[in-house]
Symmetry: C2
Subunit: 336 residues, 2 copies
DNA sequence: GTGAAAGCGCTAACAG
DNA sequence: CTGTTAGCGCTTTCAC
């Protein structure tokens, strides 16, 4: 294994000069820097991560905490993860994957052993049990999602309330007067996951403001459940002409179910969704949707974390504004 | 931060004794061990990961290499990942997430910096460009999937050939004589991913052996593509009564498409799949399937890796035998 | 069964 | 602008 002293000798400088040439933490003359860089390349030198972590008390590793509870849409989680890794690498950091089997102990463990420098925490609940720990840990963290009390924490997410509002307002503009929200599985609400609730808030507030009749329907993530909800809606709300879907897993079967029940989309029923663009684009009827910007959220989360690691201040709350794309699933209300 | 010398002082022993009490690498008297353990607990001592890695040249971190190419089913990848993390933790290891943005350089980097001790490599292609590197790296690796030439490597996967055979044999036993395989997206075959090809091999071989008429149909991972394949099959193979599906994303829409085209499952058409049990169970018509044992593969992969890290020998190839579960989607051929 | 001490490879004062 | 050097906290010979 080639080490820093080998490089130093080869370049005719001291180890500290090599170290500083690498870190840029003090000025190095153009000439020696080039010589050091050449030696590094020639010898194929790679600094030992452990030695570095020990000497600098920085591991350059972030922990990504992925609980993977029931009712979450896995592809979205994966997109987050990929974008977190990609962005972390751009900042010369690696990513340690932490699932929730160990619970909060896992967080404490990797923090206490100095395995990681900071945390990206996903799937945050309104009353998340990890909050006290994250506040007490001496390492910075960024949460993807908002708890009820975010005091002293850094959070980022799509503005789900505004997303819910945007969907309703879009339908209202098209003349729809009776709308329904088909939401996440019941357990997601029971668990008090913030984002699901905020969609409901936005949906309801916008409907009330616009004097639309509205109702909310949690829905399991199975095609069968989707069909049931479709039937129920038709039965109980015959005047319904606008639907907002906030449940990736059942978007496709729900649309199919409505059509099988004799409703044409968008002629008889307008449908909008809050979901990844990729999903909305690829259905048989492309769906007007507010994008779930997983990649952007992951990227921004890591960038916030990097600023915190540099002891810079960051906003406590970052809400990404909803971005709606009109596709083939919404149309003006068919007034007979 | 509490360190090993603090614990040593508190317990009235030397640092090395604390270290050995922790690692068990040399005998410690019951009495001192208990005293050391008590001190550790009392002081809340956690060994510094970097210091440990530096002194022992073991980081106790595995790299999980997840390429995330097009055409792979994300939930399955996630299941692998979770099971890899869980099993690694059981063996006192953590998991670093490596996507393929960096390509092979990423592997080399984390190996050369001693960030990780070993690799779990997913989504292996028949002619995988990472193979030479993995062979040359001084760190052990286990591949999930089989390349064309696995010489000198350790591989594990479901026996996809046997899985393809099992599906055909099941249909043959039920009296079906004309069968089709609806496979993965074309890019998966073009890329020469081993598992997709092996399903085709097994499917075709078993069909030939049983003198069944058979055909193979790659299919994009979209509902629209599923509908097209269904229509095509009905048009071109009117005698078709048995279908094997190896494409998680389109299983549900394909079944729906067949039924909308007037075929009842299983009365007119028997369907079997190679997919996660969870998917097969939750369709409106539960599907007879060979399980994709993601969790087991991930677990076994890590266990192989642990044996290699202990310099024990392991089999080069581990093929998990297919396990078929009969559900509601297959029935004896309806002989009019 | 236990202790002393020499590193592991790097960073960051401190010194010039 | 560069070199010298003292650790960072742990493991592991070597010695008893």
């Amino acid at each position: 294994m080639v080490k820093i002293t080998d490089v130093a000798r080869h370049a005719g400088v001291s180890p500290s000069t090599v170290s500083y040439a690498l870190s840029g933490k003090r000025p190095i003359s153009e000439e020696t820097r080039l010589r050091v860089e050449a030696s590094i390349r020639e010898l194929g030198y790679r600094p030992h991560a452990g030695a570095r972590a020990l000497a600098s008390s920085r591991s350059n590793v972030l922990a990504l905490v992925v609980p993977l509870r029931a009712g979450i849409h896995v592809p979205v989680v994966m997109q987050f993860a990929v974008s977190v890794v990609t962005t972390a690498r751009r900042h010369d950091h690696d990513v340690l994957l932490l699932t929730q089997e160990e619970g909060e102990d896992g967080l404490r463990r990797v923090a206490d052993t100095a395995l990681v420098d900071a945390f990206v925490v996903m799937d945050v609940q309104l009353d998340d049990p990890r909050l006290p720990l994250l506040r007490s840990l001496e390492r910075p963290s960024v949460m993807i999602g908002f708890p009820a009390d975010a005091e002293g924490l850094t959070c980022i997410d799509l503005d789900f309330k505004a997303a819910g509002e945007a969907c309703v307002e879009h339908l209202a503009r098209l003349g729809h007067r009776v709308v329904a929200l088909v939401g996440s599985p019941p357990e997601v609400y029971v668990r008090q996951t913030a984002f699901a609730q905020r969609v409901v808030q936005g949906f309801t507030a916008a409907a009330d403001r616009g004097r639309l009749a509205s109702s909310v329907h949690p829905c399991e993530a199975t095609p069968a459940a989707a069909r049931e909800v479709a039937e129920q809606l038709l039965r109980e709300q015959p005047a319904l002409t606008g639907v907002v879907v906030h449940n990736e897993a059942i978007l496709e079967p729900l649309v199919e179910a409505f059509e099988q029940l004799g409703l044409r989309v968008p002629a008889d029923l307008s449908i909008t969704a809050i979901c990844p663009d990729e999903l909305a684009e690829n259905l048989r009827v492309p769906i007007t949707s507010v994008a779930l910007p997983s990649a952007e959220v992951g990227e921004r989360a890591v960038e916030l974390l990097m600023r915190k690691l540099d002891s810079k201040t960051v906003p406590e709350a970052t809400l990404l504004p909803p971005r709606m794309t009109e596709r083939a699933s919404t149309a003006p209300r068919n007034t007979p």
